[in-house]
């Protein structure tokens, strides 16, 4: 067991995950609310899970049981009060309404595609074409655009903090979690009516099959087939539309247990490019939007579940 922890940081031991997740949840809720009934409930769940994982350690094979365990407590943790991703949602709500930048205004007049200030359902149609910028933008690109044009904010610091770490929150991750959550339960409907939107989806598809860097990897190397694994890690098939692609597309941003952070698709693809031995892609670059647009096309019709909770 120690062997695979050592050799691949991506392969988290599922048994340990149980404990780790609950500690992460407890710590965050504890920190945010100074205890209370949620914390008590959590402690109860923690004891249950510790018992569950002890049983699991004896069981073989570990991967199958591990998957079941994850499922079991994904269900348990589905309670919004217990998903730490909701802390990001709450912080995002504050940031949305906070006056900032040279113009000292909030983001509340930002047009995310359905008119200034409209939040409900907008994430269900992003990325999309924005005529004012003559560009297809994902949520991050659009928010940066609004920060610069509407607020007159120098986004250098925001971009420097694009990915949160312990003790350092990310405005972008928080805002995206807040806005994504405003489409919770809605149907994801990819925006493909504008020629530039279709062009972006096609570029993204080409990038999905594009091999590069010292290992000759493409996204398709790892996500091109059903039921494949890298070490013990199951890999979603993102080469065709279907239930898998829908579930993936509908579940970002996600609270990543292994990182104790709420992450967006920008971070997920950054991490996949890392595994591809490519340089870090630029944040909010056209290529990431193209790939997201390609995934959006595959994920059309999904029911949005944001923030979700993942390894």
């Amino acid at each position: 067991m120690r062997r695979y922890v050592q050799h691949s940081e991506h392969i988290l031991i599922f048994e340990c995950d149980n404990v780790k997740l609950l500690f992460a949840v407890a710590a965050e809720i504890g920190a945010a609310q100074g205890g209370g009934t949620e914390l008590l409930n959590l402690l109860r769940i923690m004891v249950l899970c510790l018992l569950g994982s002890a049983a699991n350690l004896r069981a073989q094979p570990a991967d199958v049981d591990g998957e079941k365990e994850i499922e079991r407590y994904r269900a348990m943790i589905n309670d919004p009060m217990a998903n730490p991703g909701y802390l990001a949602v709450d912080r995002g709500e504050v940031l949305w309404a906070m006056a900032r930048g040279g113009k000292n205004v909030s983001l509340e007049k930002c047009d995310l595609g359905a008119g200034p200030g409209v939040l409900d359902g907008v994430a269900a149609h992003l990325p999309r074409y924005f005529a004012d910028a003559d560009q297809v933008m994902d949520l991050e690109q659009r928010l940066l655009h609004c920060m610069r044009t509407l607020q007159g904010l120098d986004t250098k610091d925001v971009i420097a903090r694009r990915f949160g770490s312990p003790g350092k929150t990310s405005d972008m991750e928080d805002l995206v979690a807040f806005i994504g959550n405003k489409s919770l339960g809605m149907k994801y409907q990819a925006s493909l009516s504008h020629p530039k939107e279709r062009e972006m989806a096609n570029i993204g598809e080409a990038m999905f099959y594009r091999r590069s860097a010292i290992n000759d990897f493409a996204c398709a190397t790892c996500h091109g087939d059903d039921g494949r694994r890298i070490r013990l890690q199951a890999l979603p098939d993102l080469s065709k539309p279907g239930a898998t692609a829908r579930e993936v597309m509908a579940s970002w941003p996600a609270y990543r247990v292994s990182q104790s952070q709420t992450r967006t698709m920008q971070h997920r693809l950054w991490d996949c490019y890392r595994q591809m031995r490519m340089p870090a892609p630029d944040y909010a670059s056209e290529g990431i939007t193209a790939l997201t647009m390609y995934l959006a096309k595959l994920g059309d019709g999904a029911t949005i579940n944001v923030p979700s909770i993942k390894r």
């Binding site: 694994r229 070490r231 890392r274 630029d282």
Partner: protein, 201 residues
Amino acid sequence: MVRIFFLACLLALPALAQTPDPARVEAVVAASFASAPAGWKSRVTQDALQEICSLTRNQPSAAQAEAITAAAKASVVLPPDSAIIGDWRNGEKIAQNGQGGQFSDAPGTVSGGNCYACHQMALSEISYGTLGPSLSKYGKLRDFELADARATFAKIFNPHVTLACSTMPRFGLNKVLTAQQIADVVAFLFDPASPVNTDTK
């Protein structure tokens, strides 16, 4: 005549919509990695093999495939027979090691082969991937023949020797592994004492 032309256009349209201009794709990729550090820029652009295998989605034409395998065979630098099979214990570590070459790695990190990411090898290791075929008992199934070990060295050096547009990395050609490291991995597969060949479970 005109009608046929229009028909042809109509048929061509969906195909056109699917395949964007490769130059446009490359421009988007280049722009998306614009701030890559100098030493990393070369990873963003493609070599000829990467380009063909990407555009054909790993289904090269017969002529392309022939050219790829021929070039791959010419690229392999084999050590003398005495150095084809190294130390299986080192080889096992290399097969386990998935580090190296990532922007998150400390500079100077020695790269592993990460074979277990894709292959089953020793049966006692349960954490193996399924992107490639099982290599369990690999040497034993080949009677530990030196000729097979030599071919395996070549396969790891440049997998396109036997399959054009293989999805396996070109470990030797791309200098991910040294000749010594490849020989050690070959030993992991071909040494009769290696758990790849001895493990019963």
